[in-house]
Symmetry: C2
Subunit: 124 residues, 2 copies
């Protein structure tokens, strides 16, 4: 199969990035306010999907930052801002479900998390 007329699958040419470049990327609200930044992604190694982004927000000069795990599908990439956009608000982040002791890979927590953001679990 060759291709001058390549099926881009709806993908912007510059949407393919090293995992290392995603870490640190800013996250904005739809109106352009900075909500926080991505610290790292959580990857489902078996399915090959990015499941969550672990976001840092709040704080000042790196102090007092808080961390929340958010479903990856709540983020969309905005090439014009070179950052992600989400409709999750700071208020929502403040009251999001707390992670259990077993970390992110805890199905109960994950169900509550998706439910909180009104989404189907990523693995369904």
């Amino acid at each position: 199969m060759t291709s001058t007329d390549v099926d881009t699958g709806g993908r912007a040419p510059n949407s393919l990035v090293p995992s290392t470049a995603v870490d640190g990327t800013d996250v904005y609200s739809p109106n352009g306010d900075k909500v926080g930044h991505i610290d790292h992604l959580m990857i489902d190694k078996q399915s090959g999907n990015v499941a969550y982004a672990v976001m840092h927000f709040g704080g000042f000069l790196g102090m007092g930052e808080e961390e929340q795990t958010i479903p990856w599908r709540k983020l969309s990439y905005d090439t014009s801002r070179d950052g992600f956009v989400t409709d999750i608000t700071k208020e929502q982040l403040d009251t999001a479900p707390a992670r259990g002791d077993s970390g992110v890979a805890d199905r109960d927590y994950e169900m509550r998390l998706h439910d909180y953001y009104g989404m189907n679990p990523y693995w369904i």
Copy 2:
């Protein structure tokens, strides 16, 4: 794969890992020989899929290592080895299509790459 009452979606509990932990993970052949290791992943930010793993292989004590991009779906995670397994051989890596000047995000190259490994493109 054992499961509790929770729908695991076919996912092993420990398959969810930070993107940073995937980098450096060893890659083995089905018979257990080490083929190389993962340097980093390439993520399709818009779809949220991991598209490729950039693998380093060959060389000695970090010198003379070569790099190849391989489709992520050619890797499966083996919890018993704490590493990935692939049926891609070293010989295949040696003669794999060379990346163009525009990097990995080059649809012509990506088509040739998937074709070389006998796969459908990840975006289809």
